[in-house]
Amino acid sequence: MTWNEDWGRISAIARKDLITERRSKAGFNSVAALGVTMLVLFGFAFGPDAQALRDAAAGALWLAILFAGVLAFNRSYQVELESGALDELLQYPGARWTIYAGKLISNLIFVSLMLAIVVAAGIVLFQIHIPSAWPMLLVTLLLGIVGLVTLGTFYAAMASRTRAREVLLPLLLFPMLVPVLLAAMSASKALLGGDLMHEASAWIRLLLGYDVIFLVAALFAFEHVIEV
């Protein structure tokens, strides 16, 4: 069980998922469209006052990504459940965490692309001024996405195989994501406002800690989730 073999499996799964997503463009397009639609609706809820919109922007962005992400996570296992591919996937020897890692990578790329579209739309719709500390903002976005995808990919492995997957995934996932969403929203909001209180870095550290803890936990626990 060399690292090369494991990496071969991880990259095979990630590549397979990405090719599938690219060929069925409808999936990505509609999920991204949903994210942008959510932003428009948030705009109605908080607008049209420009300052109120800017204050709500960080929260609206993360919620749009969250809801669109949940669809993406379930889809990621839907591909395996169609025509019994999951059984075939479980037939290959080797460590189970590689399946999780492969799906994690493809979901990360998928959600990051979606994030780029949603953020671009958000900058226009919510009249956001890009702050000078934009590299920090980028770090926040990435760490937030990692936290979201880490648990989303993990819980979808269970929820997508139950009778009530549409309800169960958000029900399990959203309370677990409270620290990520709070930290990502607060850090984004602080950075967009110029980070006058210097609070963004504390939130980013929290995000980093959360990501590491749950990434490790998910890698260890995935075997118990997929094997039965």
């Binding site: 397979k16 591909v79 025509s83 591919a85 059984d87 094997e227």
Partner: protein, 233 residues
């Protein structure tokens, strides 16, 4: 466990339920090296469940089973290295081409990805090698699944109605894979609805009735079709 623990299949009182319904009620089955065994039974008698347990895809609720001496629960990884299952569903990715599906299987099994073209030729899919599986007929999908099985060269073949949707060429292909495996010291367990396509290669059959193996000496309520019964021996 005992002297025969390196049998291709050694299942002892395997039982499995779904919810409160017992599908298998204690199936004991031994298959020796070189054997090709047909598994018969009415619809819903638990044949596919038995195959899935032997392939480590389901865990038995009671009883034990081992493949070449490796327990299907505690040594699942070793079992997966020696077993190949051809399930009902082809387990292919619709949006990948035939070649990409095979390459994925090779990469997942840690095998070289060089000889895929000739393998596709062997199952008669050269011309559609770079077309997406979504457009394939069920027979073509079956052939691709067979190619994937050939790629992995398992010692023990677990085949769930392998002849369904296959034309006569496909049946010959399937049978040659089965007999090649048997000659190499491997074994096969084949779930069958009709014996005709497998008539030339079966060594014996066992029948599952009501979740148990029917005793060969006293014929159970299940009837083997007369035309096929002659072909066993």
């Amino acid at each position: 466990m005992d002297l025969q623990s390196d049998l291709p299949i050694d299942a002892i009182r395997v039982a499995r339920r779904f919810g409160s319904k017992w599908v298998l009620r204690g199936v004991s089955l031994r298959v020796h090296s070189g054997e090709v065994v047909g598994l018969l039974g009415a619809n819903g008698s638990g044949k596919s469940t038995m195959l899935r347990i032997l392939a480590t895809l389901l865990r038995p609720n009671a009883g034990t089973a081992s493949i070449y001496g490796h327990d299907v629960v505690s040594a699942a990884d070793e079992v997966r290295r020696t077993v190949g299952i051809l399930a009902h569903a082809p387990g292919l990715y619709d949006d990948l081409t035939a070649r990409e599906n095979l390459r994925f299987a090779a990469e997942m099994s840690g095998l070289p990805t060089t000889d895929l073209g000739s393998l596709l030729g062997e199952v008669g899919l050269s011309e559609v090698a770079d077309e997406r599986v979504r457009g394939f007929s069920s027979g073509m999908q079956r052939r691709l699944a067979v190619a994937r099985l050939m790629l992995r060269r398992p010692q023990l073949l677990l085949l769930d109605e392998p002849y369904s949707n296959l034309d006569s060429d496909g049946i010959v292909l399937m049978n040659s894979l089965i007999s090649r495996t048997a000659r190499g010291g491997g074994a096969s367990l084949i779930v069958l609805h009709e014996l005709a396509p497998a008539s030339g290669i079966l060594d014996r059959t066992v029948t599952i009735v009501d979740g148990r193996i029917a005793k060969p000496e006293k014929p159970a309520s299940y009837r083997v079709p007369v035309s096929a019964a002659g072909a066993i021996s």
